[in-house]
């Protein structure tokens, strides 16, 4: 069942989402759209409907002046170089149920689009209003970022905001940071409705493995995603974060690594100095440079260990009571 613009707007009203709406002649580009809706004072979006080599589909919704480099995004998604292409024209009416020039995140309200992955420009979050087509390019609506999130959550989507302009080097030591956004299944373009509805849960489980393997390498992304997914995925993320922060071997490893790196660099720096007291200068330099980090790491260790002890204490009190109840019942 394909949603119409009116059905979408009715749904927004049901969700108590306020939006401004502006009718205009059909527009095919952001520039044209700007002529009619510039006065709304919001951020225009450009929306790309893409597919990868395995026929998985993506909508990338970005602020009009964000630079979107498909080559880089392809690598960040783990699709290799040149893995992202424009989706075939038939996919628009079949999957998104919209016409050419009307690609919009709102199309994900359709059941047929449940396997389409949505990447949102993190720049949206700081905008007063975001502008999108409500399933037709003859209308533009403006709504606040938090209301937009509200809509996405209402259709079972966890909003995934990404720094689209970031260009991290993807390689052996740096796994693709957006790989968790790749849909779990591809869509067969003819008869897409027959695909079984298992994609949503699979999509949220995949990211956990990805992120927990690299807690120390990419602190910024996991903590951001952790915040967004904390509701659903709490146990797994916490399990591995705890394992890492209470692991004594890993701790010592990190400490030694930090000190050795800084030591070597201080040694090289000071060996150029003329003063004879190299030893003291080097040790002083090392101490200055690593103290703050080491203190922070060690406090984390202390707090994590206490936390485990605390919960063990609670459990050990409850355990005999719980067992007593069970024994009494028998």
């Amino acid at each position: 069942m394909a949603y119409t613009k009116d059905q979408l707007l009715a749904r927004l009203q049901e969700l108590k989402i306020e939006f401004l709406s502006c009718d205009h002649p059909a527009v095919m580009t952001v520039e044209e759209q700007a002529k009619y809706v510039g006065h709304l004072g919001g951020a225009l979006s450009k929306n790309l409907f893409l597919k990868d080599k395995k026929h998985r589909l993506y909508i990338i919704s970005a602020l009009a002046n964000t630079k979107v480099d498909l080559k880089i995004l392809s690598q960040r998604l783990g699709l290799g170089k040149g893995g992202l292409r424009m989706a075939p024209e038939e996919a628009l009416p079949e999957i998104l149920h919209v016409a050419l020039g009307s690609v919009t995140p709102f199309a994900l309200i359709n059941e047929s689009a449940r396997s389409v992955s949505l990447l949102l420009d993190k720049g949206f979050r700081s905008q007063r209003y975001c502008l999108f087509h409500p399933l037709t390019n003859e209308v533009t609506i403006a709504l606040t970022p938090s209301d937009f999130d509200k809509f996405l959550l209402s259709i079972g989507r966890e909003p995934a905001y990404v720094d689209l302009e970031d260009c991290p080097v993807v390689g052996k030591d740096n796994p693709p940071d957006l790989a968790y956004l790749v849909p779990a299944e591809a869509l067969n373009l003819q008869g897409a409705d027959k695909v079984p509805p298992t994609s949503a849960p699979a999509q949220t489980n995949a990211p956990l493995e990805q992120k927990t393997k690299q807690p120390t390498q990419k602190p910024k992304e996991p903590s951001k995603e952790q915040k967004q997914k904390s509701g659903k995925d709490k146990p797994q993320i916490n399990g591995d974060a705890v394992a890492d922060s209470t692991n004594v071997e890993k701790f010592v490893e990190k400490v030694l690594e930090k000190i050795s790196n800084v030591f070597i660099s201080e040694l090289t720096k000071q060996s150029n100095a003329e003063d004879g007291n190299i030893k003291d200068h080097v040790l002083e330099g090392v101490k200055q440079r690593v103290s703050s980090d080491l203190l922070s790491m060690t406090m984390t260790l202390k707090n994590s260990v206490y936390t485990q002890g605390f919960h063990a204490g609670i459990e050990s009190t409850i355990y005999p009571l719980a067992n007593k109840k069970i024994a009494e019942r028998k």
Partner: protein
Amino acid sequence: MASTAGGETLAAPDPIADGRTEGVEEEQVVNPWEVSAKGGKIDYDKLVDKFGCQRLDDSLIQRFERITGRRAHVFLRRGLFFAHRDLSDILDAYERGEKFYLYTGRGPSSESLHLGHLVPFMFTKYLQDVFKVPLVIQLTDDEKCMWKGLSVEESERLARENAKDIIACGFDIERTFIFADFSYMSPPIYKNIVRIANCVTGNKIVGIFGLTLEDYGGKFFFPYIQAAPSFPSSFPHIFSGKHSNLRCLIPCAIDQDPYFRMTRDVAPRLSYHKPALIESKFFPALQGESGKMSASDPNSAIYVTDSLKDIKNKVNKYAFSGGQDTLEKQRKYGANLEVDVPVKYLNFFLDDDAELSSIKEKYGSGAMLTGEVKARLIEVLSEIVERHQRARAAVTEEMVDAFMAVRPLPRMFA
């Protein structure tokens, strides 16, 4: 036992004026909900005079160093924490072997925190470390519910999220109790709230906070809630027996002074010590001296969630520079250090005194360029933000539960 039982009369409270209820000639407004000044620059001397608190001078800083055996925190040395009330009393008592506890808080109005938000927490952590004293942290989810119209559930959620960033500042769980008003409200603290409420009329509240009868009643009641943690009997699970009348020191930004002026007025009437205060200036926004950083303008501050790229971009693009317009002019005249924001930031975040004065000297004379100063700032800020993000990633829901559990802190002075 009031600390100045003989000497003070209740009829002469600390001067109240806060700018909100005074005449049109008021040039600057500083209160918990508004900070602004004509011409943009806050006159801290005038503020200290008007509020009636005292400036933190060098002799006090030296006393800190003597008592704690450590170099004073960079925020003290560079004058970010610049005013106080009764700090000397706290230090006197400490030297006599009488301990104290720390109390600070946060109003969880947004999920994203910036460096300005972290400043009081970074300083409080230093105080906890050097004095080895316990700390209570109040998350005023109820306040945000009342003032920002957030739902109860949303305020509670934000409080928990903010707690994680606060924990990431490195507080010691053996001496720290974090609580959110909605979940901690219980007999001990509620009784104190009512005791305080019985001492302060609505008229007084209007005078201090500028409320009117059009405002919802909760706003009149909230100041009593923010005052209550200043009294140790609000936390009998932590402060009992010989600690039941422990002194309290409150590190906070100076716009919170009105709450605690009121509290200090009330304390003697309830036979409690007056809480002491140590107060900070406002952290300058990236774009310059016009007031506080704003959570609604992401480019006015460095956020703890910013990537290294974001920091670089924000400092390069938005940090207000005191440098000259052209290379030639810069070399000839040097930079205006008075208005240069990167130098102000380095003033607070670059610990190395020698390096800082070298930068100021070279930049002021033109030997150094804006780009170089900004590059050094980016390095310094990146280190801080990265360290914070690493610590933040390790904070689990269980850890938050443990920090917020109502439990005794047996080794809080060890």
